[in-house]
């Protein structure tokens, strides 16, 4: 069974400047959570700090009552597309197969069943016809779907996605959000770094709104309000009112 996820007092600084300052929140399992804020707000940094991928000044992440370090194999992380070497000699199906590595442990090779499972995950994102393509030959949206398939292959309970919707086509975006919803319905916890304000209400149940400091965290209806948004974006959010009416 999945458990709640808690970040407490997370602070990170880069060369003297504090990028994430004392951020804390808790979310129950079965949530689809957007991490929202302007450029340079420290959204990706917060995510990486939670996962222990970069050095923190302070703070900790807990899953239930355990430190995140003890449950690493339950976590799937999808990096920003720009962080991947798309010329790497690897084809689509082998990329998805990487998702089975964490649970294999040392010295074990992926079995036939693992390969079949990877293909199954590839089908879920509708990319089975591209199984033998080199990953650089795909469009941005297709690449993102392949990396989501890799995360699915991990059979994780906690999913961390860094800007999955940047620079991708509409149909890929629909496929991805559909899968994230299914994960949520299955009781998984999904965190997504996001910066496109137009779809916030239709995509997420919960939000973490930040601009270096935490502005607010909780249900969308509570967080996604003009007062909060103006504080986060440090400018009047008039366009924001239209959006709220539209939703």
């Amino acid at each position: 069974m999945t458990e709640s996820i808690t970040a407490s007092n997370i602070s990170v600084s880069y060369s003297g400047k504090q990028v994430v300052s004392n951020v804390s929140f808790t979310f129950e399992p079965g949530s689809l959570i957007g991490i929202l804020g302007p450029n340079g707000a420290g959204k990706s940094t917060l995510m990486k700090a939670m996962l222990g991928l970069i050095k923190k000044n302070s703070g900790a992440t807990q899953i239930g009552s355990e430190s995140i370090d003890k449950v690493r194999k339950l976590i799937a992380y999808v990096p920003q597309r720009s962080n991947i070497d798309w010329n790497f000699p690897i084809v689509v199906k082998d990329t998805v197969l990487l998702g089975t590595y964490p649970k294999l442990g040392l010295f074990h090779r992926p079995s036939k069943a693992d390969k079949a499972w990877a293909m199954e995950c590839l089908k879920q994102v509708g990319m089975q016809d591209f199984a033998d393509r080199q990953i650089g030959e795909l469009s941005g949206g297709q690449q993102q779907r392949v990396f989501l398939a890799r995360a699915l292959a991990q059979k994780a309970d906690y999913f961390f996605l860094d800007e999955p919707f940047v620079g991708i086509d509409v149909s890929s975006e629909e496929v991805i959000i559909g899968i994230l919803r299914k994960l949520k319905d299955a009781g998984k916890t999904v965190l997504v770094v996001h910066h496109d304000l137009s779809k916030v209400k239709s995509y997420f149940d919960d939000l973490i709104l930040m601009n270096n400091v935490l502005i607010d965290a909780g249900p969308v209806e509570q967080v996604f309000r003009e007062k909060n948004m103006t504080r986060a974006y440090e400018r009047p959010m008039t366009m924001f009112d239209d959006l709220e009416v539209q939703m």
Binding site: Y77, D85, F88, I90
Partner: protein
């Protein structure tokens, strides 16, 4: 043909042959990871930086293996320390450290032994391979091949997506230094065959040629090893028949293979692509 006849009959030639093939294989294997991780300069640095270790070993009359491994590892750590603990970028850190080690090495070698030794160490002399050299190469070869085979999964994922590897709990820094260590071993094994200066051609060029020919890492490693071994044997052939220094011949052999791959690779080749686009134009017309 005469070469093969001699190969059957002369023990020194057999030793040289076995050593060259093994050096080619392990350079190709480790080189593949060096190329994909963008560490070509690091490979060059470590190969140059083993020189003072070799010199000190001569002075103490111990096997050059020990000194070389020591200074190789020291180099990897010094470069890591400078680039992580200061604002100096890693390519500059590499330049600073390896030139210092190399300079020190040249001074020590000229003090320790005659100038001919220096030439051999710098440019390789595969025909002077002794029993002990061959055995060191075979042992290092076994270590490298077994390590790459056993930890292929971890090497693959940490080279492709270091963040994911770290996210699920692999110690990526340890893997980095383990590769540096293997690289040092490979360099030491290559000293007799290609020499310090041109080891980088064996590390980078066959792996780069293989990179142009395949979309699978395992195939790339095998192809790179094959190209490396082939180049080493070509080097041996020329240095035996025409009395040429083996290192430069091997380097040019790797380059020839690379140029062929660059021009004629089925997917990436320059000439291949030219024909492809011409074919498309014809089809359109």
């Amino acid at each position: 043909m005469e070469f093969f006849h001699d190969l059957m009959n002369y023990a020194f030639l057999q030793k040289a042959f076995i050593t060259s093939v093994m050096v080619g294989i392990i350079c190709g294997a480790i080189g593949s990871f060096i190329v994909l991780r963008g560490m070509a300069l690091m490979g060059d640095a470590i190969s140059h930086a083993v020189l003072p270790g070799v010199a000190i070993s001569y002075m103490l009359s111990i096997n050059y293996f020990y000194g070389a491994v020591l200074t190789g590892v020291l180099t990897a750590f010094s470069i890591g320390a400078i680039s992580q603990k200061s604002r100096i970028k890693s390519d500059s850190a590499i330049g600073i450290v390896f030139s210092a080690f190399f300079a020190l090495g040249i001074i020590l070698i000229t003090k320790a032994r005659s100038a001919t030794d220096l030439t051999q160490i710098l440019f390789g002399n595969v025909l002077s391979v002794r029993d002990s050299d061959m055995w060191i190469t075979l042992v290092i070869g076994a270590i490298v091949i077994v390590t790459v085979a056993l930890f292929f999964k971890e090497l693959l994922i940490s080279s492709f997506d270091e963040t994911m590897a770290a996210a699920y709990g692999l110690n990526t820094r340890f893997i980095h230094y383990a590769i540096m260590f293997l690289l040092t071993l490979v360099t030491v094994a290559s000293l007799q065959t290609v020499g310090v200066i041109l080891v980088v051609s064996m590390l980078i060029t066959p792996a780069s040629a293989a990179y142009l020919l395949t979309n699978r890492l395992s195939t790339m490693v095998v192809l790179a090893s094959f190209f490396g071994a082939l180049s080493a044997v070509i080097g041996l052939y020329f240095s035996f028949l025409y009395n040429m220094p083996s290192g430069p011949v091997i380097a040019l052999a790797t380059t020839s293979i690379f140029v062929l791959a660059f021009l004629f690779s089925p997917q990436q080749g320059l000439v291949t692509q030219m024909f492809k686009s011409r074919g498309k134009q014809d089809a359109a017309a």
